[in-house]
Symmetry: C2
Subunit: 92 residues, 2 copies
Amino acid sequence: MVMDVELDQMRSIVVLAEHLHFGRAAATLYISQPALTKQIHKIEETLGGPLFLRKPRQLTLTRAGEVLVERARSLLRDAHVAIDISRSAVRG
Amino acid sequence: MVMDVELDQMRSIVVLAEHLHFGRAAATLYISQPALTKQIHKIEETLGGPLFLRKPRQLTLTRAGEVLVERARSLLRDAHVAIDISRSAVRG
DNA sequence: TAAAAATACTCCATAGGTATTTTAT
DNA sequence: ATAAAATACCTATGGAGTATTTTTA
């Protein structure tokens, strides 16, 4: 493992940004709330600061979070295209 | 884990495509040759076919391999940019 | 017969789960 | 008092390593 943030982690960030709620985002990702909490903490640690601001009843994105989410969405789209094209190529 | 091919795996494919030699590519990645062999096998399994053609003294890319390598290079560049920008954003 | 990839096996790090606690409204 | 995230603790899966075998030019 050398890559700082993996695609799966980017997916978690994007889903959490959509829900702004750990429990519901975790359910969407088919993992538990603590698992998602730990994933996000780990990413924030590797980046050196928070992507989300937690208040007991209000979760929001930081500016850095917004920046990463936007790029992550684009990367995930590109990754899916690359994989789909490769799948076609291994057959055709 | 939901994403079919992760960035680290793409990196392995790119490095192997550059060396066309499992042993030297593995050394570049700071892993063992068997570890790299297994990584590549796993990716080929998820894609449904080979990315490399193995002959005892000649390793080559399949057409599908060429396609994926080209896209993977681009994705890895974009990912690094995204991460660098996010790193800046969490500070600034 | 030699160079290189594949296999066999063992081990351990970590990602995930459940249960519980903390926090601020 | 409650909703929601964080923490504690445990387990198991899979990724990596070393040693060995297979393959075919």
